[in-house]
Symmetry: C2
């Protein structure tokens, strides 16, 4: 597969491609043209061809894309087959929602451990995963190299926990705390979920829609 520097916008579209191709695949669609895929995704056919050209040759002139194999290729680009592991830090409402309802496996991740400070949940399991005391985090990460730490702790604990994840050698932090983690001196990649950014964009759009 030829490689080139891929823009952040393309990276953000890849999971959307994967999601739409999965829907098509589950609906029994065997092949699709770039224009039909574009229509479903609100992109132009040429944008799709250009996006995918970052990663090699896909599809055939006059045939379009084979849904199943394009989906597989994108899954590979997204590193979904690399047995990534994740640990959740903080099993309050949000951590619990992710542990119980989010399908880590469908993104190629295995949820391997959950950590919390609350004695009422430590020792119990959530979605068959043991909740461990946060004191065991450092040792756990040393003994179990982990791809991603999911940060769902209260804001006040965010920086300290992020630092311990970095020290523990995680490769990425999935940050739900709304705290900016300034860990740019490390190799760890931070992916933020900012609920407020999303709601404010919606606020803007509904107001525009009225005028």
């Amino acid at each position: 597969m030829k490689k080139q520097k891929v823009s952040s916008a393309v990276i953000r579209r890849l999971p959307r491609y994967y999601r739409h191709l999965t829907d098509l695949y589950l609906a029994g669609v065997v092949r699709i043209s770039s224009s039909a895929l574009g229509k479903a995704m609100n992109l132009t056919a040429s944008q799709i061809r250009q996006d995918l050209s970052c990663f090699g040759e896909f599809g055939q002139q006059g045939y379009g894309y084979n849904v199943s194999s394009l989906r597989d290729e994108i899954a590979e680009i997204l590193a979904m087959g690399q047995n990534h592991t994740a640990v959740i830090l903080g099993v309050g409402n949000l951590g619990r929602a992710l542990a119980e309802n989010f399908h880590f496996d469908r993104s190629g991740f295995t949820l391997t451990a959950i950590f919390d400070v609350d004695p009422n949940v430590i020792g119990k399991t959530v979605s068959n995963v043991l909740v461990r005391p946060i004191d065991e985090l450092d040792n756990y990460l040393k003994e179990n190299p982990t791809s991603v730490g999911v940060l769902t702790v209260p804001r006040a604990a965010a920086l300290d926990m992020a630092e311990r994840l970095v020290q523990g050698g995680v490769k990425g932090i999935w940050n739900f705390t709304n705290v900016e983690l300034n860990i740019s001196q490390s190799d760890v990649i931070v992916e933020n979920i900012h609920f407020a950014d999303s709601l404010l964009a919606l606020s803007y759009m509904i107001s525009e829609n009225e005028t």
Copy 2:
């Protein structure tokens, strides 16, 4: 304020501007240059000037931006002073996490009601907001025009609930269900939070980082 068609990328950056300016404001910063603001946000100074030029004249040559007034202007662009209201549909872990921990007010929204089907939670309050039976949704929306419905119901209920929100006259749906809501025939704007898209982007980035 002069108006022009604003690209989706700019709309997505506005809440980030607001977030960074709020941090600066709370830190007591009075003014900031476009290059310093850009550095904090990983944007170029000219990109910032170009983004803001969509909405009028901000800042002064040689002075930069007044943090507080630029923040106020962006808040206005984001329609944060329009007394938007929100209702949550489904108070499972995720709905509860939003009701209890997400500051709707900081985005200019008031959470006015919560709906669920579970008799164990109906009639109780979560964050001082009454949980009502879902049967009351249609009447509630008729009597209480509502800006946004927050969809945190199980996937199987998503389409039906979205339809009822549309019928009830909401202007936007904040959709956490991972179900594509095909309601494009209406004027209702759907803003999706796709956790998996975010995790897959992180998966891609950590793999790229290793090679």
